[in-house]
Symmetry: C2
Subunit: 190 residues, 2 copies
């Protein structure tokens, strides 16, 4: 997705340890026009799948999922990272280790919102080690929901998350894949 | 907003301590068509204001803000509740006490995304004691941003958050105000 590559080159900030900050348009400040283009692109790639729900994880996945859901005309469920009195007691749970926050947390989805009749598209902003995504896949498996596809905005191809998931036969599409970050310069795949 | 009242009556779940769960359509599973109607209604109420940005707080505010932002043709900034390597070091901060989670947390917005040129609409899903909203207002004040309006989906009128904010002269609009929850029955204002 050239528009997204251009935006990452223009506004992405490369920090130490290969961290690419896209907080000016994707996960702190949100460029809604760009999110609409992302939503359209996910629809283009997955429109032939029989998707009835989009699953994502708070917080950065939510805006992408909500905007994308308009094109599929489906609802969204987002996995929660914290317990709250607003969360139903009866939940699917999965443990996730976050490298960016250096901690393990539990993600939860209320059982009443995901079951064997669901045919889901999972979306998220970033895929690196794939820990958060594995948590969502685990929850979908617990629910016996069918994973029709996985849509990622930015995949770090130099980390193993994407490859591990593709090896399992899941239909993972990343809008851009970054193969290398070196000397403050980003190399995209193809 | 009658559509929203009807939905709360139909699908809201009243728990102990006056907690109303709307997790099936507003803050865990998201009814995107309903969110679009909410976005249109916020636009109707605030379209004459000179709004250039929407400010909200993770996680439940994000989908509402993103969908609403399409009608205003503006971007969104969401305040973060956790530190992360993806967050810029230079932030506005405010302490917020959460009654639903029974803990104090810090909300943060990177300074580069909010300043004295901004004319913001603040949106969130719920307003009860107003703690989260006060945190957002505090951050907007630190940034010298102008608060053009505040849009809340569901206000609990029997708690003091809304009144306190209106007394300060801020233009707070709640799409529904709940005046009483008693014997598993909800009374809406007017």
């Amino acid at each position: 997705m050239e528009l997204l590559k251009d935006r990452i080159i223009r506004d992405g900030i490369i920090k130490d340890n290969n961290i690419i900050m896209v907080d000016s348009f994707l996960n702190h400040q949100l460029d809604i026009k760009l999110l609409n283009e992302i939503g359209k692109e996910f629809y283009k790639r997955f429109k032939d799948k029989d998707i009835n729900k989009i699953l994502t994880i708070e917080a950065s996945g939510i805006a992408i999922a909500a905007i994308t859901a308009q094109y599929f005309n489906v609802n969204v469920v987002f996995a929660k990272k914290t317990l709250s009195t607003n969360l139903d007691d009866n939940t699917y749970e999965s443990k996730v280790f976050s490298y960016t926050k250096n901690e393990t947390y539990t993600v939860r989805v209320a059982k009443k919102f995901l079951d064997e009749k669901d045919r889901i598209l999972i979306v998220d902003d970033f895929l690196a080690n794939g820990m958060a995504l594995e948590g969502l896949i685990d929850i979908a498996c617990q629910a016996n929901a069918k994973i029709e596809g996985i849509g990622i905005v930015i995949e770090k191809g130099f980390q193993k998350g994407g490859d591990n998931i593709r090896k399992r036969g899941l239909d993972l599409e990343s809008l851009v894949i970054i193969d290398e970050v070196k000397d403050k310069s980003i190399t995209f795949r193809q």
